[in-house]
Symmetry: C2
Subunit: 250 residues, 2 copies
DNA sequence: CGCTCAGTTGAAGCATTTCAATTCTTGTGG
DNA sequence: CCACAAGAATTGAAATGCTTCAACTGAGCG
């Protein structure tokens, strides 16, 4: 059941506040014009809203403008795996728009604002705006890299390494889009969500987080997360900090 | 170190023997002409050859024409995670061609034949052959779906479910490209490879496979794998057999 | 025949899960 | 401002699944 409710009005993509983040590559006027043409509207949702659902063909693609969301798959008996978190600037629903139906669901963690594109116009985009088509493929490739790294975590890192990796990953991504202030982020997920992302039980996730904070690698205060020494955490996590971070925004 | 050695000669993509497999969508004459133009040559390798390497920018993209390969990532201490196996028709190296350098390595399991495209012409393809650009993006999306499912396996399936899932996954993909004869496939990997794909130890992988064959779900004879009751295995694995299987071939 | 690599096995140890309470937070109504 | 409810976090203990260690067996090959 889709719990999101649509809300649309005129928007100018060229004035999209997200574009002021320096992680996003500047777009040409032509590209901005194409993006504006394709944009169908905006969607504003509350927290815990299902934006896209596994098994359902989606008519829409989204760019998340504001808020947090997560992608997940479930087994019949209720076991859930969160495959990735989505932050502002992330593209949602490409997989479903290519293959006909979604292979995973997407749910918001916070109130969110999404920019929507009709699925039917994706082909038009490939014909008329090759640079944007390229950007979409680029974003897919980046997402694939994140999934590969996540797979390495679940398969070969132990609980401490895995949690260290994932927290740092989210911290850096949050920083990219300006969500880190004075070294602190407000992570909007519960330990339950984190457990489902790490492939661990809730209890063990809790104990693992405790170990990280006892070692002084991660500090928590009133729901804010602070990482005093990024390099030290990266070391434990076997995290490669040298990855390029700039990317296109659609 | 790249251990593959190049071998090139004229080829006509329209006569590519792989195209006779019905899983591959027919290409138009225009598309075939574009593919032929982009094709730089063929690469023939032995088994255990490194085709692409993590951290290295790749000048080439490949379509695997013959043989098996696998994609993997490693940690410094030698732990390895196989993220996927590649079968004939699979595209290799898109991620690296988009992001500049490979985030994973690719190694062959058998002697292999690969068709190569220069990375520099990918942009040309997006401009001149939008339908092929779309196909590339489509294949990326399909690959993303496989990674999502794999993530669900590593995070939330137990060893038996995970192995059942993965064997069935490989069996069906092999069947798609004509590698299954009388219900049997020759899997070219060792239990070591399988362990690294499932995120399990070698010993536990062995015991898990034994359990599956004791239950009669999978039969092994002289390196050939036979699945007597696909539906029964799918049931254990929580595998959705209703997925569409046809796809483009570049 | 003997080497090597892959597969197999049992036993001990450890990591992670499960179960079952508690405690802490936050928001709400009195 | 306090009391209370509901969700989230925390904790200890017992049970389980998986890993590690250390042999041993079997198949293919020169």
């Amino acid at each position: 059941m889709l719990t999101a409710t649509p809300f649309s009005y005129e928007v100018q993509c060229s004035r999209c506040p997200l574009r002021t983040c320096e992680v996003f590559q500047p777009a040409t006027d032509d590209e901005l014009a194409s993006i504006s043409t394709l944009k169908a509207g905006e969607l504003r949702t509350g927290p815990a809203s299902t934006v896209l659902q596994e098994g359902i063909p989606s008519d829409q693609l989204f760019t998340l403008l504001e808020g947090w969301a997560f992608r997940y798959k479930s087994l019949d008996d209720g076991r859930r795996q969160i495959t990735s978190f989505a932050l502002p600037g992330d593209f949602l629903g490409i997989q479903g728009s290519m293959q006909g139906e979604m292979d995973h669901s997407v749910e918001t963690l916070t109130p969110a604002v999404l920019c929507s594109f009709p699925r039917k116009r994706v082909w038009e985009l490939f014909q008329k705006a090759p640079s944007l088509a390229f950007d979409i493929t680029w974003l897919s490739a980046r997402h694939e890299s994140m999934l590969n790294e996540h797979l390495l975590s679940l398969g070969r890192r132990n609980a401490v390494e895995c949690a260290a990796y994932y927290l740092l990953h989210l911290y850096l991504r949050a920083d990219d889009v300006g969500l880190v202030t004075e070294g602190k982020v407000r992570f909007p997920f519960t330990q339950d969500h984190l457990a489902d992302a790490l492939g661990l039980s809730l209890v063990h996730t809790n104990k693992t987080l405790k170990r990280l904070s006892e070692r002084g690698l991660v500090q928590w205060e009133h729901g804010w997360c602070f990482i005093p020494d990024v390099a030290a955490l990266a070391d434990i996590a076997k995290f490669d900090l040298e990855q390029p971070r700039t990317r296109p925004l659609l």
